[in-house]
Symmetry: D2
Subunit: 284 residues, 4 copies
Amino acid sequence: MKRLVLLMHCPDKKGIIAAVTNFIHQKNGNIVYIDQYVDRVQGAFFMRVEVEGVFGLPSFERFKLDFQKELGIHFEMQCSFYLADLLPKMAVFVSKYDHCLYDILAQQRSGKLACTIPFIISNHNDLASIAEQFSIPFYHIPVTKNTKEKAELKQLELLQKYEVNCIVLARYMQILSSRIIDVYPSKIINIHHSFLPAFPGAKPYHSAFQRGVKIIGATSHYVTEELDAGPIIEQDIIRVSHSHEVKDFISKGQELERVVLLRALKLHCERKIMTYNNKTIVFN
Amino acid sequence: MKRLVLLMHCPDKKGIIAAVTNFIHQKNGNIVYIDQYVDRVQGAFFMRVEVEGVFGLPSFERFKLDFQKELGIHFEMQCSFYLADLLPKMAVFVSKYDHCLYDILAQQRSGKLACTIPFIISNHNDLASIAEQFSIPFYHIPVTKNTKEKAELKQLELLQKYEVNCIVLARYMQILSSRIIDVYPSKIINIHHSFLPAFPGAKPYHSAFQRGVKIIGATSHYVTEELDAGPIIEQDIIRVSHSHEVKDFISKGQELERVVLLRALKLHCERKIMTYNNKTIVFN
Amino acid sequence: MKRLVLLMHCPDKKGIIAAVTNFIHQKNGNIVYIDQYVDRVQGAFFMRVEVEGVFGLPSFERFKLDFQKELGIHFEMQCSFYLADLLPKMAVFVSKYDHCLYDILAQQRSGKLACTIPFIISNHNDLASIAEQFSIPFYHIPVTKNTKEKAELKQLELLQKYEVNCIVLARYMQILSSRIIDVYPSKIINIHHSFLPAFPGAKPYHSAFQRGVKIIGATSHYVTEELDAGPIIEQDIIRVSHSHEVKDFISKGQELERVVLLRALKLHCERKIMTYNNKTIVFN
Amino acid sequence: MKRLVLLMHCPDKKGIIAAVTNFIHQKNGNIVYIDQYVDRVQGAFFMRVEVEGVFGLPSFERFKLDFQKELGIHFEMQCSFYLADLLPKMAVFVSKYDHCLYDILAQQRSGKLACTIPFIISNHNDLASIAEQFSIPFYHIPVTKNTKEKAELKQLELLQKYEVNCIVLARYMQILSSRIIDVYPSKIINIHHSFLPAFPGAKPYHSAFQRGVKIIGATSHYVTEELDAGPIIEQDIIRVSHSHEVKDFISKGQELERVVLLRALKLHCERKIMTYNNKTIVFN
């Protein structure tokens, strides 16, 4: 007895839900979750279904092929199928900040973040001991202006060797080039330490302090070529006041960063997110 | 028995608190509230004091003069003195949206917003009936590109005639020129329907929707010459999701706007705000 | 072209969605919103549908009858049908507090609360002038221990005369007896000034202050016979600190009460709420 | 150059602030933070001061003695003095849940929780490997009804041996007796997984689900003899809806528990909390 997750979108038409649910019943699948969303302005239909059934790998492949043949072509669907117990392989990129890394490793280890973590990459050596503490391979790949291409090729090599599905930039202070981004569309998750689109780019806490805001935020988003402009997955905020200095903004903000990033990672690993027109649809 | 509110700031030095509290005791004042804040980076000291005592108008004037003479000059203080029962006179500027106006009038009427409202000004006639409902004079002053100067002169005339102390732009869809702003520094309160500095200018809900944010906000700030860039008084947020359309953003946002604006107005009318370096210090 | 809202629940079975959507298509209805929820523990299915079509009153009646005949009996459905432009008639009960009343009347007047308000009932005369300001009939029905039965009979008479559909207790400081509650099951909405189930009953702000909580709340719920124990519609909170006195709790709380009550009323008037097992299902 | 933290409260009188600041200036101390709070109802004065100066251990002892002699007796003060770089020693008690433990250890290790952690005590062996991962001694002390006294004596022995200053119950599923509580008044910090005083005792998420709340909370408080009734340090909440099952309440709640507990621990370790009349004063 296995669980299968299906994410799909297509032009909105009558009869999609009925067709999909009928198909699943024919395959002796039991729908344990179904949610859909219609974007009426765009005329687009989105659906997430969880199905329980006898899905060995062969019947899972069969299910996918038949689904595409019987429904996918007719409704012009774009589909993703996942076996729930095949956890995504997530690579973690870090620099020197440890708060997000600790959280990711602890939550993964205690079973609350449904993924495997094949390795950690960093442009610095500072966090190697944490990797060791959790017995996870740590690759130190320094990045300078001149070595960036070489570094990214080495990163890609590791990503391919370990068959990585998605990447989390856990306060990785480097900008990825399209060399990597293009290989992982809607698969690279970043945490930005501001309430985007306010304060994109570097030093957002300093800018927020300078502006005298009363609330600071954190934003987790998929990485696209345009810096800090990819589809937003999750945001949250915390109140500040005139009595807080920049260092208080940073310390309060870091509490927020790890919470917001973890929420986004959980949603991604549980296959609850679709992207469309540079936005996310989050089935929660 | 009257209550006096004192707001002051000056360069940070030893002995300010002691000097002020001693002065007040000499004047037979009873301190019922005292709060201070030191900006160590700027070396600036801020204080708010509420004093109960026998302050008729003459003794109030005496108090102010003596304070300046004995302390103000020595400590290079900038001070504001208010008698708590002399309510500020607040003019309300509106256009067509009624949600903030209703809230201001209702809260003022029920004694929760400590001010008087001598009149309402609008560039449209739509909300005249609400003014009438609350028996408040309503002046319809249309504004076009060509009549803007004339309109503002008329507005100024009314502001002076009624001896107005502060102005609230309750979704007034016009930009005030320096002609008015310069007369009311840190005295004109605007509500902007976004989480500034994200989405300044026009149509912020449309921009927020376009960007796919997961949280929308509202910001109340003092008006300065640079559009939507004045000192922020109060901000708050509300969650949205992919399932909300622009009209939902607007409707959820309007709930927020009135709450955030009212909080800012209350703080201002209770003389709890100081401005400094384009930021607010809010004694709460 | 009219809009119809359908709320239904029934035991969870295969094929409900398909059956309902097919029925609507046969009736030439256009589904503009559909959302469903399955309570797997209880085996219960809930759905809300908005349909656009040519629904004059006769065809609306026809729709209801056919729906019951073709689907309702088979699936053991409990259904409610509403024409969206037939606004609910909501009676407002108040005592002496005006903040919720002002908000309800202003929001209703500006079209943001989709109901009509045939009259206001109060056990005191204090708020009569607000009713007058909004030109709404005001009935002063004093309630004492001895006159309670007589008072409630008079209230019922008014409710029936005006064909009232629902009641809001906008800080009405009296407890209704089953005489009225039984006539309006899941139709009487109360605002309780605490985060229920903490601090039920009288003086919750005082109790919250006494307990030293760091957050206070407000709860809007349907009234049932057990005091403050009916299905919760909406809750929200605001932070407090040691520096706030009981009067600050009350003043911050009142800001919250009106916001939370209004949200609940909007949800109710837009027919987005179902009740089940003393809980609400809120389609949002 | 050392930093000293002074927490004090006493009956409210004129001249306390001046007396304290004068004393500190005489001792060549530089006040880098001062905040005070007056409870006017109780007539109680509270103050927190941070002072920089040449405080070796002898001069620190001298400072305390002189302070008591010159001010303490006169003003009837209750004072606590701390050297900021003498970190509190905090023992961690756990059972089987690992989310709070991981967070405490990670935050402590990365310098964000200013304490040392001499050991972990658990009534189960499940989390021993985490202790090992962080190289912290782990004591497995099983507790049954019959062995409770013996277990607590063993716990006390360890607490004394390591000169522990405070204890965190990081989801420790046992109730401490007065045997331990009396030794650590306002020094034992618990995290309760509900918005107290709603849902005290066992299984609060199940009760919250049963009640159909729209918001769940977590509460960190000092442990007193009455269960879940000690002074509240920090609370926070997260929204839930009808679509969430008990397991969602638990999983969302655990995210909250660790955040709320960490905030409380940081406040405690930074000596920002005073307790009074079963409430906390939090200087933030």
